[in-house]
Amino acid sequence: MIGPRFVDLFVWEWRQVGRTPLLWVILLTLAASFLWGAGNTGAFHNAQTQAQAGTRAAEAAHRASMERRAISYRAPVTPDKPKVPYWQDPTNVSGFSQYFVFQHALKPHLPLSPLAVGISDLAPGQFEVKLNTGFGFDESYDFENPRGLALGRFDLGFVLVYLLPIALILAFGLLVTFERDRGMLQLVAAQSTRPQLWLGTRMAAILAWIAPVVMASLLLALGVASVSFSDALPELLAAFLLVGGYILLWTGIAALVLSRMPGAAGALGMLGAIWTALAIGLPLLGSILASSVSTAPSGIAFINAQRQTNDAVQTDRDAIVRRAIAARPDLRVAQGDVDKIDHATRLTFLVPETEKRLSQFRAATAAHAEQQARIAIVAGYLIPPIGLQAGLATLAGTGEARQRQFLIQARAYQLRLRGILYPPVQRQIVDPTPDSEPATRGRLNLTDRNILPVFAMTDDSPATRTAAVMPFAVWLWLLGGVLAALGIRRAGKWPPDL
């Protein structure tokens, strides 16, 4: 046999690498970052969950207050306590529909949410769903210090996507180039070891320390952030698969660079440049390119369109209501009474008309968002840090796709509420509930106000979420494997300038 066996050399290298203080500095720093990142995101999401609980409590308080008033408005009118205007009267079905519906769509966090903050710091996780707001809900957001949004949160996703590669770069870049920088490589090469074996065992030994420690630290960090492993097992396994693939990818990149046996300066310089290109250069160019492919419809222009449309609808409001009533066999008899219809009831006709007139703007915005999402998916494969970020966010339930589902479901919820309230409101036009005798303070044409369902988000199953990231995980493993193989293959000869 010529030269050492892989196993013998690997065992030696593994022991020696494990004795290197630098490796432990890197690994401990990384583990601490995992803990801080997961804890940070966990606390942030807990605060959001508490805010959602506060919303539910506010809804309950609102209902209680409304019921108290509804009971008191059953009282007969007196000089001191006159009839209540319809917009202050929860027993009036039209007043209720416009001024008393206080329902929210909430997006709960998933068990693995500390894995990545995703877009949960930017995109709203709750909306007040009013009956007559166009397209579901007003644009709103939970205020986060925008400085933090601009800088990005220090979350586990950031550590995994950006700091983990740097840790790998440092470990490979410094531990593999030691002999080269110290002038020992010639003596190493003069033994009967092939460069592929030497490089391969050294890198494998480093990897054999880093990969398990990273996985264990990840698990520990998620545990400390109170993730219930049993509730998130498929997603957790998929996350490990993604992180494993990402480690392999950077190992492959490092192998390609180190195959020419550069010194630390050359290795770190080249790997740093690759990291910079993948972390910011390509996303910056990709983002500019994506924007130029499809310019986002201007939100400012939408305001203009909205104002113009609202003005037009207001100017035309009687005609619109009349047309709408005429088109409805059940309401047609009330065509001549349009002037008597209150504002809230009018809105049940005007709001759908406004939405119809603005639908092209809305469709353009939605089409742009979908196109950008498709571009982002492709970009994820071309720029792995972006893909990993998206994959982790998908598993954590903080990704864009889940947010889109939330928005769609919130809109569907609004339509469901309209489906419940619009018919009784409109029925009052042709078939008004007789006034009470003696006259009561309230209109009393809505006796049961507990008729609105609570929004409950329907989520994809864990298996679906896991399946969504699998193609990218496979891509990472393939890419990493191919790069590593190419790197090792490229190290076929010791460099001539030893």
């Binding site: 959602q52 930017l122 939970d142 949004l149 800088l151 300066a265 440049a273 910056l284 950008q372």
Partner: protein, 465 residues
């Protein structure tokens, strides 16, 4: 002599392909991001101006109506791009750009440019300031490594020190070369382009010029202290490898980890109440729709205020009630939102104080402040827009109160009243008037500068062939 030596060092940098191309690549990215950011800002501003003009026309042309209805109709106000947004858009992409100034509500600013951004758009959010802050250290350290650590490793530094009559001049020349190359290529082109854009766009005021000059100086100082750190480490480390590891480590900690970690820590140490709590508090204390019981209470209060016992004794009871409720809401908003925004400022002050840990944080805070793109400047817009809203609503209510109307009767007015409300024209605060939160950063940066300069001088003095 130093400048001539620096010329040689510059030539060494230019001939080192890794260092030179790294510098050029970053310079290209900085300039590209400047062009992209400036283009976006110009397009957005153009949209805002057009819609603001349409809003004004709508306001004036809303016809004859009850002034309170006019206050509800009201207008949208748009936040113009900050002064130097091409160089540092700061929090711009993450804060609302428009606000509806309607009666009863102090609405949030909406239309955040990145509200619906994909992760690609967010990750690709490069701008000159963020690129300089994050990646200039890496490039500057690479230059320091090339002209100092490698020079030392090869032994040529020793030779040069032996030949020089003033060894410290060599070090100062190296520092000058690194600083000159990085400032000249990374900062100067974008600043010059911003200057030209401002001049061509006719908004090159003294304030803008001062801000631009100070921003250039800030980045130059940042690069200078990075150059000093790079050189000191390269000279003091045991060998080039250790120098490289230390510089790489410094970059990771100071430019990558600490800004994010510091920002998260500042927000955790001084947490904000949730928006849900704030909104609910405002809703509870100053509801836009009040109850019949509230109306009864308002009546009592108005009778006391006017010293009357009948609603008919108040010229326009409805408008008086609306005005009273409106003015009450101002106090509530000032208290609740005032506290809230003070907490935001407090977070920013704490973050800016973390500049003592990392010069990147100090420069980040100062850059956004000089560019007019930090939260203090944004808050100024919120305050001024709200001031405009209150003046508008108060004027409408005052007109209503000045005209008697009883029962369901409504006083109306027309363009003559609407025209009395001036066009909303936002003037950004002049330099120094919205910089309170960044004072700790300024102190930190000065300390870093003095500290690194002393360290460099001490290291240069200690040098022996």
């Amino acid at each position: 002599m130093i400048s001539r030596l620096a010329g040689f060092e510059l030539e060494i940098i230019r001939r080192d392909s890794h260092a030179w191309w790294s510098l050029l690549c970053l310079a290209a990215l900085v300039f590209l991001s400047f062009a992209s950011t400036s283009f976006d800002a110009a397009r957005d501003d153009s949209d805002k101006r057009a819609v603001a003009a349409a809003e004004r026309a709508r306001w004036l042309g809303q016809g004859t109506k009850d002034p309170h209805s006019a206050a509800h109709y009201s207008i949208f106000a748009f936040k113009p791009s900050p002064t130097l947004s091409g160089l540092d858009p700061g929090i711009g992409p993450f804060v609302g750009q428009s606000v509806w100034l309607e009666a009863h509500h102090q609405n949030d600013l909406l239309n955040r440019p990145l509200q619906n951004a994909t992760l690609l758009q967010r990750a690709g959010l490069g701008n000159p300031a963020s690129l300089l802050l994050t990646f200039a250290p890496l490039v500057v350290f690479l230059l320091a490594f090339v002209v100092v650590a490698q020079d030392r490793e090869r032994g040529s530094l020793r030779l040069a020190l032996g030949a020089a009559s003033h060894p410290s001049a060599i070090i100062h020349a190296k520092a000058l070369a690194i600083w000159g190359a990085s400032t000249g290529l990374l900062v100067l082109p974008a600043v010059a382009a911003e200057f030209v854009l401002a001049a061509v766009g006719s908004h090159l005021s003294i304030d803008v010029f001062t801000r631009l000059s100070l921003w250039f100086a800030l980045m130059a100082v940042y690069l200078a202290l990075l150059s000093a750190i790079g050189i000191v480490v390269a000279l003091r480390a045991r060998d080039a490898r250790i120098a490289l590891a230390m510089l790489f480590g410094f970059w990771i900690v100071a430019a990558l980890v600490l800004p994010r970690a510091g920002s998260s820590a500042a927000d955790t140490v001084r947490p904000l109440p949730s928006s849900q709590i704030v909104r609910q508090q405002m809703l509870d204390e100053a509801a836009a729709y009040w109850t019949a019981e509230d109306t009864a209470l308002h009546k009592v209060q108005l009778f006391t205020q006017y010293g009357v016992t009948r609603t008919d004794d108040i010229p326009n009871f409805r408008m008086a009630e609306l005005d009273m409720v409106e003015r009450h809401s101002h106090q509530v908003f000032d208290r609740i939102l005032g506290d809230f925004y003070e907490k935001v400022a407090s977070q920013d002050r704490l973050f800016s104080a973390l500049g003592f840990l990392s010069p990147t944080i100090a420069v980040q805070s100062l850059s956004a402040s000089l560019s007019g793109s930090d939260f203090s400047h944004h808050h100024d817009f919120i305050v001024k827009a709200e001031g405009y809203r209150r003046a508008l609503v108060n004027r409408m209510n005052a007109d209503g109160m000045a005209h008697r109307a009883e029962g369901d009767e409504r006083h109306t007015n027309d363009e003559r009243l609407w025209a009395q409300i001036p066009t909303f024209a936002y003037t950004a605060p002049v330099l120094g008037s919205a910089t309170g939160t960044t004072l700790p950063a300024l102190g930190a940066l000065l300390l870093w500068l003095v500290g690194t300069w002393l360290l460099l001088s001490a290291t240069a003095r200690r040098l022996r062939p």
